[in-house]
């Protein structure tokens, strides 16, 4: 089936050309630079449908331009009285049947791919020891942040999804508050995170993300979910299977490994323990249900708050005024935690130092 589609690629050269002329966008976020089987299946469908549709447009435009050129009043004369033609059954049959045929060509791969992409039977496969063979991630979308739980591995993280490459990764999606939609454009189409039911699908990541300019794939919330919908980004790190296993091991040990280094970090830990720990866990071992994002991998993050550049300055800004940077988010303002005061510059430096030390990769 896929081979059939490849033939159609020739026909869609023109469409593809238009796209290439304008560039394919950034490879960490564009649907035109697929980094996995799902996205490339979908891109193939796009080439096929674009090809068919460009064909239709060309035919229409030829008739259209000929008509305008040949039958304009300035050419045929002011008083020319056209023959009042009723219609033509032959012609009408032709332009009914040909579109049907064209659509049938599109229908077959559409239906096949629809079923293929919905196949999540691999999720329940177990090896001899009863361990799941595939990685399954439970995604919980919250107002402007994402939680990723690995139920079979006993670990949980937030904001930055870590997955192994070259195998199917399965996802269970749900929303904690309002409906969101889980989308990694370069890797595959989106699926909504509903509030009342779990949606399931799979993605495949062909490319380790460290080959990308940004080091991560960009993930998006694709369903309007409130004021900061546009800022509800997440990032994806895809690792070779061995590296991924290593990451999992580190995550499990992260509770002990997170000892702060230096006085500043120690002071930060103290503040954290009085103000932040009620919502934020710092151990990667555990399960879903955090009030706020799990911070075990904070030091490895690509972004602050999902979208700001990862700098100490931005961490401070974010902590001291979350409402300013993500309107409508649920993180308390520092005044609510710190006796009605903002944190001092010194306290912020301490917190940032501590948080940037929380790492499982270093």
């Amino acid at each position: 089936m896929i081979k059939g589609i490849k033939k159609w690629r020739l026909f869609s050269l023109l469409a593809a050309l238009t796209v290439f002329l304008s560039g394919c966008g950034e490879e960490y976020i564009s649907t035109l630079t697929p980094a996995g089987q799902v996205a490339s299946d979908q891109l193939d469908l796009m080439y096929l449908s674009t090809g068919i549709m460009v064909l239709v447009i060309i035919v229409v435009m030829i008739v259209y331009i000929l008509t305008i050129v040949k039958f304009r009043r300035s050419k045929v004369g002011e008083n020319m009285m056209p023959k009042q033609v009723e219609g033509s059954h032959t012609l009408e049959l032709i332009w009914t049947i040909i579109p049907i045929v064209l659509l049938l060509i599109l229908t077959v791969p559409t239906v096949v791919v629809t079923y293929n992409l919905a196949d999540v039977s691999g999720m329940d496969k177990k090896d001899e020891e009863g361990n799941a063979t595939a990685v399954t991630v439970n995604v919980k979308a919250n107002l402007y942040w994402w939680e990723f739980e690995y139920p079979d591995l006993g670990i949980v993280t937030a904001q930055e999804l870590v997955v192994p490459t070259d195998e199917k990764v399965y996802f269970n999606l749900i929303a904690a508050d309002v409906k969101h939609s889980f989308w990694i454009p370069a890797v595959g189409g989106k699926l909504d995170t509903n509030v009342e039911n779990v949606n399931t699908f799979y993605l495949e990541f062909d490319k380790p993300s460290n080959e990308l300019e940004t080091g991560v794939f960009y993930g998006k919330c694709a369903e309007l979910c409130g004021p900061s919908h546009a800022l509800m980004d997440f990032k994806v790190k895809s690792l070779e299977r061995t590296e991924f296993n290593e990451w999992v091991t580190n995550m499990k040990d992260s509770a002990e490994a997170q000892a702060p280094q230096g006085d500043l970090a120690l002071q930060g830990q103290e503040i954290f323990a009085t103000s932040c720990i009620a919502c934020h866990a710092i151990s990667g071992e555990g399960s879903t249900g955090g009030v706020g994002p799990n911070l075990a991998t904070f030091g490895d993050r690509n972004r602050v708050a999902g979208y700001m550049d990862y700098t100490e300055d931005n961490i401070k800004k974010w902590i001291n005024d979350p409402e300013e940077y993500k309107p409508g988010n649920l993180m308390p303002q520092p005044e609510d935690l710190n006796d009605g005061k903002k944190y001092t510059e010194q306290e912020l430096s301490a917190l940032a130092e501590y948080l940037m030390g929380l790492s499982v990769e270093k």
């Binding site: 950034e26 012609l91 559409t110 009342e196 399931t200 309007l224 409130g226 546009a230």
Partner: protein, 621 residues
């Protein structure tokens, strides 16, 4: 009574329009109100494009942006596009079928005033704590969680104006079924009447699901219901289904009448009868029917499962076939014709490639797995603007120029009209073509801003520049309208010279009773037939001059709609203000008492006597 129009004071004119039941005046009311809402929606669109012109912009704050985008969509669909189409339906359909008025003149007025008060109510949200902010689709989990009263304004406002739309729909259906002149068989009806007929049927069957959906939302938000509260067993997907069972036919409610307008314009200015009339009628009906079978293609990513997605994907693609038939029939109407490039015709010619582009991207999205990528991105934004602007707004602007002389006995300036067209056409493609690629490059829709590192900067800037062209085009159009009204140069009957259908045969200005004698329709393109046979009258008559029965004007529709408007404030503040329930009851009482007053009084209308008709020229020939 005198039939000659006298100079009236402003108060008298205002009272006349508040109480009118004349379809021609209600058409003007729809045109004015729809036009104003169109401009409001356009300003909202400009704010959106300014905000998105550059990355990380802070021209509009995050929450406010969501209100603007919600109101832009809601206003354009419910308060601009649909009422403007109703304006043309009211102005043209009774004349096209040889009727003296619509079937229910009183309800016609009620329908308008309900739309009007609903629209005002919705827009008052701006001044009363914030507009709705959950998108025009107002998906349940977000809209239930939305703080403030924005969503309440949305649900109540649309409920009222939706009721008006439903009334209008039934009215047109009955008018077309019962009031056609002798000889006007179904298969001789002009295409605009046909498309009005099918669109009205869609209104009749599509609006009740919206009504129910809005009621569920009203009950949940204002009367402690639990339809969408999943903690108490509710389900938000119900809203999605109800909304789209309405929402998809809504697209055809807008598009079909626009097709109808083009099907009138193209034969007129190609001086050639519509190619494949029966196929066009059949395609219109088929599109209307299929429009109800495909709603779930808006929900491919909701998680309905592969089978449902596959079925709806295939059903959706099927709609492309009758639509394609229409496109080719329009082209073949022009083929061999004598094409004159008037402003309405320019819009028709601009429409064909634009709508084809919108249609083919629709087919691409029908392919469910591909839609997983395209859904909720700027690709979709581009697609539906191609359909709604390239199809519907072009149709409205074409209809505005085409029917202006019919409605006002004067002609919009053609030069300014063509300038408007080119500015609008270029601006439209510049704004929206590029947005397809923004979607493919990963830009989700409904984002109030975007980061600079994602490769979307240039395309967004181009898109915003395009929007400026469209805005300038609208300014030129408004100037044109004002100048035309100021000049007020009468043009008389058949100003386009090649009018084919009955409405162009009526003397101008159109007498308030429309036809002195009911015409006899002898074939498709009645007026054309009469002209070809050298009939100076333009019509063959089916009856001698007789007394004409006319309905009385009434202020009751206005009061009934006003009562609902008042009651809506009561519902809105239910549980919050002590006066809420009394106001709700008061509003409903106003409505029901005026309704009762209407029922208790015999309102038989009046007659224009034969002698008066014979003395009166009823406009110039």
């Amino acid at each position: 009574m005198s039939l000659i129009a006298e100079k009236k004071s402003f108060g008298a004119v205002l009272w006349d329009y508040l109480t009118t039941v004349d379809h021609k005046k209600i058409a003007i009311l729809y045109l004015i109100a729809g036009g104003i809402f169109f401009i409001i929606g356009g300003i909202e669109a400009m704010l959106i494009r300014i905000q998105l012109a550059v990355p990380d912009n802070d021209f509009v704050a995050a929450g406010l942006y969501n209100q603007i985008l919600t109101m832009h969509g809601t206003t354009m669909i419910f308060l601009a596009a649909m009422p403007l189409l109703f304006a043309f339906m009211n102005a043209v359909v009774p004349l096209q079928i040889g009727a003296r008025d619509v079937a229910f003149p009183f309800l016609n007025s009620l329908g308008f005033w309900m739309f009007f008060f609903g629209g005002i109510f919705l827009n008052l949200s701006w001044f009363m704590g914030g507009a709705p902010d959950a998108g025009w689709t107002s998906y349940a989990s977000l809209s239930i969680a939305s703080p403030g009263h924005g969503i309440d304004f949305y649900a109540l406002g649309l409920q009222i104006s939706g009721g008006g739309t439903l009334i209008a729909g039934i009215n047109f259906l009955v008018t077309i079924i019962n009031m056609r002149a002798p000889g006007m068989t179904y298969m001789r009806m002009p295409l605009f009447t046909w498309s009005t007929f099918v669109a009205s049927a869609l209104v009749l069957f599509a609006f009740p699901p919206l009504t129910v959906g809005l009621f569920l939302m009203i009950f949940d938000r204002m009367f402690s219901g639990n339809f969408f509260n999943h903690l108490l067993g509710g389900n938000t997907i119900i809203w999605e289904h109800l909304f789209w069972i309405f929402g998809h036919p809504e697209v055809y409610i807008l598009a079909l009448p626009a097709f109808g307008i083009f099907s009138e314009i193209i034969p007129t200015f190609a001086r050639k009868r519509l190619f494949g009339y029966s196929a066009m009628v059949f395609a219109t009906v088929l599109i209307g029917f299929l429009g109800f079978m495909v709603w779930a293609h808006h929900m491919f990513t909701t998680g309905m499962g592969a089978t449902a997605n596959a079925i709806f994907a295939v059903a959706t693609m099927a709609i492309a076939v009758p639509t394609g038939v229409k496109i080719f029939n329009w082209l073949l109407t022009m083929w061999g014709g004598n094409v004159k490039f008037t402003t309405p015709m320019l819009y028709a010619l601009g429409f064909i490639p634009s709508f084809v582009a919108g249609g083919v991207t629709g087919v691409m999205q029908a392919s469910a797995p591909l839609d997983y990528q395209l859904h909720d991105t700027y690709f979709i934004v581009a697609h539906f603007h191609y359909v709604i602007i390239g199809g519907v707004v072009f149709g409205l602007l074409a209809g505005l120029h085409f029917y202006w002389p019919l409605m006002f006995n004067t002609m919009l300036n053609e030069t300014l009209g063509k300038i408007t067209f080119w500015l609008f056409f270029i601006g439209f493609h510049a704004t929206f073509f590029i947005q397809h690629f923004l979607g493919l490059l990963g830009m989700p829709r409904r984002v109030f801003t975007y980061g600079a590192d994602q490769g979307w900067d240039l395309f967004n800037l181009i898109s915003s520049y395009g929007a400026i062209f469209m805005a300038v085009a609208v300014v030129v159009l408004v100037a044109n309208i004002i100048m035309t009204i100021a000049k007020n140069q009468p043009v008389g009957r058949d100003p386009w010279e090649d009018g084919r259908t009955l409405e162009w045969a009526i003397p101008q200005p159109v007498p308030f009773y429309n036809f002195k004698q009911t015409p006899l329709v002898r074939g498709l393109d009645t007026y054309w037939i009469e002209k070809q046979e050298g009939n100076k009258e333009g019509m063959t008559y089916a009856e001698p001059v007789m007394d004409i029965h006319m309905p009385n004007n009434s202020i009751i529709p206005f009061i009934m709609a006003f009562g609902l408007f008042v009651g809506a404030f009561g519902a809105l503040f239910n549980g919050e203000k002590a006066w809420a329930v009394p106001v709700l009851i008061l509003g409903l009482l106003i409505t029901f008492i005026s309704m009762g007053a209407r029922s208790l009084k015999d309102d038989l209308g009046y007659h224009i006597h034969k002698e008066d008709l014979l003395n009166d020229k009823g406009g110039k020939h």
